[in-house]
């Protein structure tokens, strides 16, 4: 285990975080609020620690998959700890566990909150909360790769540990360029959404924070009723962008680099993803028709909620906890499916669902034709057996973590729906669940133990399980 490399990278990470925190500092200056000092202290602290531990370059620069996983897992935890400091210092969230929960929820783009009244926060706090979504969406290590002069093939381990999906590949030969392309696409889409929202007449501050929440598929809003008080046009724009940010970013890469829309739409994952969305919207529109005022209202609210849940954003325009059981069931299913691989969304990922479904189909056919040769195909080519096995193992690990989490949270004696959907909503990085953690409620009532379990779930879900599991696995720390 190359400890010096890990510490060096963590130091660099903290330096970057300090720089990013300058943004909420400016917000604080603009609105002339009194939490200027807390942010300044945090920045100084973060920057100083970061500089101190990364002052000395590591003796041995090379590191491998194991260090990559540990760096990413530790990095996200450290980053969240420092991110929580301003909330504690400025008194918005005095309890450290709660502040930590809120920041983890932000960076992992979950959007589960322990706050009952977000409108009482200072502008800088609100801005910082939303900004964590945007940074967590594409990944902070990917950002590091894009902006910092880091050479070496080993950085692929970082990228692979942080990016979602069963197969992580490069778009162009250089990893740095790949990271840059991803961030450029991400940035361009974000700016586009911000401008469109401004044109529709949304207040500038609202537009920035909503855009951050949507782009990272996070879900923190700055109003107590989430998105419901914005106009229906704005809601539809947000729905569309949520769906877009749930796309595999290769899609946008193909579009910008010459391929036609028709060709790009041939990506199987995207077609299935859009089909699931369309199907769910229709089912909910019919099933929950009593809860809507008109056909348009039904379309708007169902589309928004389906988009919000499947992309694991977690915004709400309606209290879907009041919808009929079938609609709620559909939404819970969508929580588990999640967005496309290579998007900013969380969940199990559409591509994994497709692979599992096809592997299942293949197994069935094998009973009828015992000597049949068949691989699982995706986008017209056969997948390696390892990839398919990887997905099956991922499902296993996913279920185990899920069950254990529900079990631990269960000691608190809340009803099963609350516990189940709380774990589902955090592990899939969605935000709100049902019943006591429904869209109008929050997570404040959980005990600290449960909160830490849910935090672990959020990080595990965002980092695709393995970094968090390896961080706590003894074999990782055993030298040789």
């Amino acid at each position: 285990m190359n400890h010096s490399s890990i510490i060096y990278i963590l130091g660099k990470l903290l330096q970057i975080e300090a720089l990013i925190m300058l943004l909420p500092l400016f917000v604080s200056l603009i609105y002339r609020e009194d939490d200027f000092l807390p942010f300044l202290i945090t920045i100084a602290l973060t920057g100083a620690v970061g500089t101190a531990i990364s002052f000395k370059k590591p003796g041995k620069a090379s590191f491998y998959a194991r260090e990559g996983f540990v760096m990413v897992a530790l990095g996200w935890i450290v980053m969240s700890v420092m991110g929580a400091v301003p909330f504690v210092l400025n008194g918005d969230i005095p309890n450290f566990t709660d502040a930590f929960f809120e920041t983890v929820s932000g960076f992992t783009t979950t959007g589960s909150s322990i706050l009952s009244d977000v409108e009482s926060l200072s502008h800088a706090s609100q801005f910082w909360r939303s900004l964590t979504h945007w940074i967590g969406g594409m990944g902070v290590f990917v950002f590091m790769l894009a902006v910092m002069p880091m050479a070496g093939a080993q950085n692929m381990h970082l990228m692979r540990s942080e990016s979602p999906g069963p197969e992580v590949g490069k778009l162009v030969p250089r990893l740095k360029d790949t990271a840059k392309i991803l961030y450029r696409l991400y940035f361009a889409l974000t700016v586009l959404m911000f401008i469109i929202l401004l044109i529709t007449g949304m207040d500038g501050f609202d537009a920035v924070t909503v855009t951050f929440g949507t782009a990272g598929t996070g879900g923190f809003a700055i109003r107590n009723d989430s998105i419901a008080s914005y106009s229906s046009l704005q809601q539809i724009i947000i729905s569309v962008f949520m769906i877009l940010f749930g796309f595999n970013f290769n899609f946008f890469y193909f579009l910008t680099f010459g391929k036609s829309l028709f060709d790009a739409l041939k990506m199987e994952e995207i077609r299935v993803y859009l089909l699931i969305i369309a199907g769910s919207v229709v089912v909910i529109m019919i099933n929950a028709r009593a809860c809507f005022e008109s056909l348009f209202d039904a379309f708007r609210k169902s589309l928004f909620q389906v988009a919000s849940i499947i992309t694991t954003t977690g915004f709400a325009t309606a209290d879907f906890d009041l919808w009929p059981t079938l609609s709620k069931t559909v939404l819970v299913m969508l929580m588990f499916i999640g967005a496309c691989a290579g998007s900013t969304g969380g969940g199990f990922k559409v591509s994994r669902v497709i692979i599992l479904f096809k592997a299942f189909q293949k197994e069935l056919e094998h009973f009828i034709h015992p000597r049949m040769v068949r691989n699982v195909h995706m986008n017209g080519r056969a997948l390696k057996e390892e990839t398919v096995d990887g997905v099956k193992v991922y499902l296993g690990a996913y279920i185990i973590i899920f069950v254990v989490s529900v079990l631990i949270v269960g000691y608190e004696n809340h009803d099963l729906i609350t516990n189940f959907t709380a774990v589902a909503a955090t592990m899939n990085n969605i935000g709100p669940g049902l019943s006591m953690v429904g869209p109008t409620c929050n997570f404040a009532f959980f005990s600290p133990v449960s909160k830490y379990v849910l935090m672990f779930d959020m990080l595990a879900g965002r980092l695709e399980l393995y970094p968090m599991l390896l961080l706590f696995a003894p074999t990782t720390w055993r030298s040789k």
Partner: protein
């Protein structure tokens, strides 16, 4: 014409024979001395031993004065290289390369435009196209198209109780209400071109030309099924199977391939998502029954062993009498024997390639005196259909057909004028600009005037 053929394997030899029969001057290059000798001894051609991609060898074979080079060695890359070198040595030469690897399939235009190849031959793809066409029209025994797919030429065996049995050729259209022209009759191994008074009997194999709609009507009226097959079992997973499966799947036909080699199975599965690939022996009775040979609508046997293919076809016909069977046979030696057993359609890859090259060569000659546009062998090599373009006033134009003194065993099957296609009667005439389809048992017709008795 002076033609150089590089590589004298199965296809090379078949081409040499076909082109030799058409009286071209041929030089054969092969790296194997014995092969060169045996070809040079059995046919009136010159043999050169050596590497066909070497300019020395090509010069020895007379590249400077040659009109055409055909490269058919076992390697695609060598073939392409041969053609490129030949093109450098002699800019006026036309080149044909055999390129079989599916990888190059999408790149044929590039080969033609950038590398200067005149034609890219893919025998497996040609064979697969042929088979796919047969499976789409399961009622016909063999089918080809003329005049850019606007008319079809089909073969059909007259069954017992068929309305075609024991009637005269001139009564066929009246009785069936269709517009077809019967071009050849095959009876007891003999092929002849009928006239209106010829009688049709049970077990005759007839061939006829018709528009696709008329062909469908014709078969409906003689109570033959006209739908395309729903599923097929292909034995053997070679290149033909691959191309065939690709085409069948795109037509929505359920395709199952049985192949013995597990590695080959993997490759097939990689590229043919919708096909069912079975890893096993295609001659294993148990396996065939398990995979539903009794219920399938068609069976295509494409293994590398002729005997296996024939056996498999016989077995399929036995357990599933209604099945449409297509059997690949590489050697043509026992053709007479095979005619007597009901194997469905027999595919000779070699003759398909020979047809294609011969018609290309004839079209090349067109600019040097001949004007055959397309040539199709109807019954192996016993009868052929030729498409002529009438370029100017000649002896045959401007007169009613009934006044022309045509050779025996020759029929004018169709005339294409502008957008219309005519199945000519005695009072019709040929005009400049027409395309004329002639079916004949005579060989080596190079000009439309050759149809007249001299």
């Amino acid at each position: 014409m002076k033609i150089i053929i590089v590589g004298c394997g199965k296809i090379g030899a078949a081409l040499t024979k076909a082109l030799n029969d058409e009286n071209h001057d041929i030089a054969v290059i092969d790296s194997d001395e014995d092969t060169v000798k045996s070809v040079a001894n059995s046919m009136d051609v010159i043999g050169v031993e050596g590497n066909g991609a070497s300019i020395q060898t090509q010069r020895e074979a007379g590249i400077a004065g040659a009109n055409l080079l055909i490269a058919t060695t076992g390697s695609d890359e060598v073939n392409i290289l041969c053609c490129m070198i030949a093109k450098k040595a002699n800019t006026n030469i036309s080149t044909i390369a055999r390129v079989r690897n599916p990888v190059y399939r999408e790149e044929i235009t590039y080969f033609k435009e950038e590398l200067g190849l005149s034609m890219v031959l893919n025998p497996e793809l040609l064979a697969a196209r042929e088979i796919a066409r047969l499976l789409r029209f399961p009622f016909a025994v063999k089918i080809d198209t003329l005049l850019r797919d606007r008319i079809e030429i089909l073969r059909h065996r007259i069954k017992e109780n068929s309305p075609l049995a024991d009637i005269r050729v001139m009564d066929v259209n009246r009785k069936l209400g269709s517009d077809v022209i019967i071009c050849t009759i095959e009876r007891d191994g003999e092929v002849f071109i009928p006239n209106g008074a010829s009688m049709l009997f049970v077990d005759d194999m007839i061939s006829f030309v018709a528009s696709p709609e008329d062909a469908t009507r014709f078969f409906r009226n003689i109570k033959e099924e006209t739908h395309q097959v729903k599923d097929t079992i292909i034995a053997g997973g070679g290149k033909i199977s691959f191309y065939l499966a690709q085409q069948l799947l795109s037509l929505g036909i359920d395709t199952k391939i049985i192949e013995m080699d597990p590695k080959r199975c993997e490759i097939l599965d990689e590229n043919l998502e919708a096909a069912t690939i079975i890893c096993g022996d295609g001659t294993d009775e148990e396996l065939l029954l398990e995979e539903g040979i009794e219920h399938t609508e068609s069976v295509v046997t494409l293994t590398n062993i002729d005997e296996e293919n024939i056996l498999l076809a016989l077995y399929a016909k036995k357990v599933n009498p209604g099945v449409k069977c297509i059997t690949k046979v590489n050697r043509v030696v026992f053709d007479d024997l095979l005619e007597d057993i009901d194997l469905g359609t027999i595919m000779h890859t070699k003759s398909i390639v020979a047809d294609r090259v011969t018609s290309f060569v004839r079209a090349m000659q067109n600019s040097m005196g001949s004007n055959v546009e397309t040539l199709i062998h109807i019954i192996d090599e016993k009868a052929e259909a030729l498409e002529f373009l009438v370029t100017g006033e000649t002896e045959v134009t401007g007169k009613p057909l009934s006044e022309l003194d045509l050779k025996g065993n020759l029929i004018i099957a169709a005339i294409n004028r502008g957008k219309t296609i005519m199945f000519p009667k005695g009072q019709d005439e040929i005009r400049p600009g027409d395309r004329v389809i002639v079916v004949t048992t005579h060989k080596g017709l190079n000009d439309l005037n050759d149809i007249l008795r001299k």
